[in-house]
Amino acid sequence: MSNKVIHAIYNDDDILMDAVKKTRAAHHHIEEVFTPFPVHGLDKAMGLAPTRLAICAFIYGCIGISFGTWMMNYIMIQDWPQDIGGKPSFSYIENMPAFVPIMFEETVFFAAHLMVITFYMRSRLWPFKEAENPDVRTTDDHFLMEVAVHNNEKELVSFFENTGAVEVKVIDKH
């Protein structure tokens, strides 16, 4: 069985949004939507689950502050508690204000960088990755919705022609 998909191409984000809502209402499964810029509310219209990236960032931040605390405690208090300019190095809490800038920066550093790396991994982005856009115009001024075909090619084509698409193509996907 061939793996056919419809590529419905639009040239306006408002029309695209309407088309997405109609497609969802008609219970056609949207495989993917390609847009040149973020379309506000598109994820909601498509019914995509909210991202959990912020939760990841919070956890990474917790790891960061733990790392900062552990590092300063080990170096400054446990390993070699020198008297440096009269700063009390008897226990961590006594000298804590001096460590706060480091703890803060470690928190931000871990939260930011690990979250970005998580984002790259989850969205499969890396240098030399082969671009996946099905139509070069989608990076400039066209919007493309990809919908799978299940032996209902004619019906789908006429459906998408009615949603204001400037072009409807049936593509054989391998």
């Binding site: 912020a54 919070f58 009269g86 009390p88 008897f90 204000p97 001096a98 706060v100």
Partner: protein, 503 residues
């Protein structure tokens, strides 16, 4: 139009009556003269002079106070009073060089040796020393009801001022989300004139020597040769003198109130206008007010809060005070809006508006912490005696309120308000808002009390009653003002955008 619910009105009146009774009780129960203090001290002394540990602790405190401040600050118990003066000369050098911990370890041994020398040498002066100590405690205890009143009064007034500043910022920024909340903000700022008058009266009474809140207002402080002469304060008397100080206060209060009055007037006139001229007038006036505000806010914080400790100074203090009351102000807007919304009066306010306020609560809480820590850490790190006494007193005598404020104003809101979903849930915001408001009351308590009542502090009847009284007055004035105008501005250029705001 909003109608003031009779239940809330009764509630606010009850708060005021209970508060007034408590304030009166506070003034009546304050000691009148040194005999009363003698009796109090005698009752306390049993527990006070138990062992070397207590003496050591008090000693460490006295040593860390620089010589110039010593007569004015930190209570010293009767028996150890003389020992300390003698020790100060020898111990000061070591104590300043070493850390407090190191010094504390050495002291018990020294204390015994020197106590013997000191008692024999100085028992002639012991009586005079004792007199001075009793007098010191008397002043602190007499300050207690005044300070309680002062803290609550300035706190509620500054919350109202913070709302005014936030409102002016929203006008100037031409924000599209907040116009539906403008009338709520104007309602809250209606407390400003009332609060200003009461506050100004307290300032005048301080100037007329009804209390000892401001040391530099004391008699003979600037007179050379007088027993109260204080060179440091005398050098600052070009700025810290009663006429200049009270005139500044009058200018600030009048300036803020004028902006509030005309801004509200123009806003109401804009409802009936046919063009946007009143809106433009308000825009320009708000921009002017913000310039005036930031200058006067800074000076206000030196005059009304920092001058409580006239030997101490900090450059970012004005911002720190600002951060403290702006976060309380945004929290108050949020709580009042949630209340009005729950009664069905704010049709166009949705969870997105509340979410925005919650983000401001979160952001300003972190901003406050940033300034709190910057002030504390810089002084702690450099450890310059004339600056560090401020925090030594607070950490040793106000340990729980000092660090408790950081937990309430930073840790709690940080963990609660970081979650997007929580920022839309009313009960979460009411809980977080209550903690933030209480935390910032304690913050003001920490700023003012150590300089006025020192180690005699307690959150008892006078403190709680003062808060209740001003809270009741605040509710009464604010909700009365809310009944005076429709809760939705009609012809604000951004009102349509604001009604449909969603995030």
């Amino acid at each position: 139009m909003y109608t003031f619910s009779s239940k809330l009105k009764t509630f606010s009146l009850v708060l005021m009556v209970v508060g007034l009774l408590g304030i009166g009780y506070g003034f009546l129960s304050a000691p009148k003269n040194s005999q009363d203090v003698e009796a109090l001290l005698a009752a306390d002394s049993h527990g006070e002079h138990h062992g070397a540990a207590a003496a050591t602790e008090e000693h460490a405190q006295a040593v860390e106070t620089p010589a110039a401040e010593a007569p004015a600050t930190t209570a010293v118990s009767q028996d150890t009073a003389k020992v300390e003066v003698a020790k100060e000369i020898t111990a000061e050098e070591t104590a300043v060089k070493d850390t407090a911990v190191a010094a504390a370890a050495v002291e018990p041994a020294q204390a015994v040796a020197e106590a013997q020398v000191a008692t024999s040498e100085h028992n002639v002066d012991a009586h005079a020393e004792h007199e001075e100590h009793v007098n010191h405690v008397l002043h602190q205890l007499q300050n207690k009801p005044w300070s309680a009143l002062y803290v609550a009064c300035i706190f509620f007034m500054l919350v109202s001022l913070g709302v005014l500043a936030f409102y002016a910022i929203q006008q100037v920024a031409q924000s599209g989300w907040s116009p539906v909340l403008f009338r709520v903000m104007q309602g809250i700022t209606a407390y400003l004139p009332v609060g200003s008058v009461i506050f100004f009266i307290i300032l005048v009474l301080s100037g007329l020597h009804f209390n000892h809140l401001f040391v530099w207002l004391g008699e003979g402080v600037t007179t050379v040769g007088h027993e109260n002469y204080d060179k440091i304060i005398a050098n600052k008397s070009g700025y810290l003198n009663f006429p200049f100080w009270i005139i500044r206060a009058a200018i600030f209060l009048v300036g803020w109130n004028l902006y509030r009055y005309f801004s509200r007037k123009n806003c109401l006139a804009q409802d009936e206008a046919t063009d946007d001229s009143y809106y433009k007038k308000n825009f320009k006036m708000s921009a002017g007010f913000l310039v005036f505000f930031i200058v006067t806010e800074s000076i206000m914080s030196w005059d009304w809060i920092m001058s409580i400790d006239p030997h101490w100074f900090s450059t970012l203090f004005g911002w720190y005070v600002f951060a403290s009351f702006i976060v309380s102000a945004v929290t108050t807007i949020c709580l009042v809006s949630l209340y009005l919304k729950s009664r069905g009066y704010l049709e166009h306010v949705n969870t997105s508006h509340i979410h925005d306020l919650a983000k401001f609560m979160f952001g300003f809480s972190v901003f406050w912490t940033y300034l709190w820590f910057s002030q504390f850490m810089l002084i702690w790190y450099a450890d310059i005696p004339e600056e560090v006494t401020y925090f030594v007193t607070r950490i040793q005598v106000y340990n729980l309120p000092f660090f408790g404020a950081v937990v309430m104003n930073f840790v709690f809101p940080l963990l609660i308000l970081i979650n997007t979903d929580f920022k839309r849930i009313s009960w979460v915001l009411i809980m977080a808002g209550t903690v933030i408001l209480l935390g910032h009351y304690i913050d003001f308590f920490n700023m003012i009390m150590p300089g006025t009542v020192g180690d005699q502090w307690f959150i008892g009847v006078p403190e709680i009653s003062s808060v209740l009284f001003f809270f009741g007055l605040f509710i009464y004035v604010v909700f009365t003002a809310l009944t005076k105008a429709p809760l939705l501005p009609k012809r604000n250029p951004f009102i349509e955008e604001s009604k449909h705001f969603h995030y």
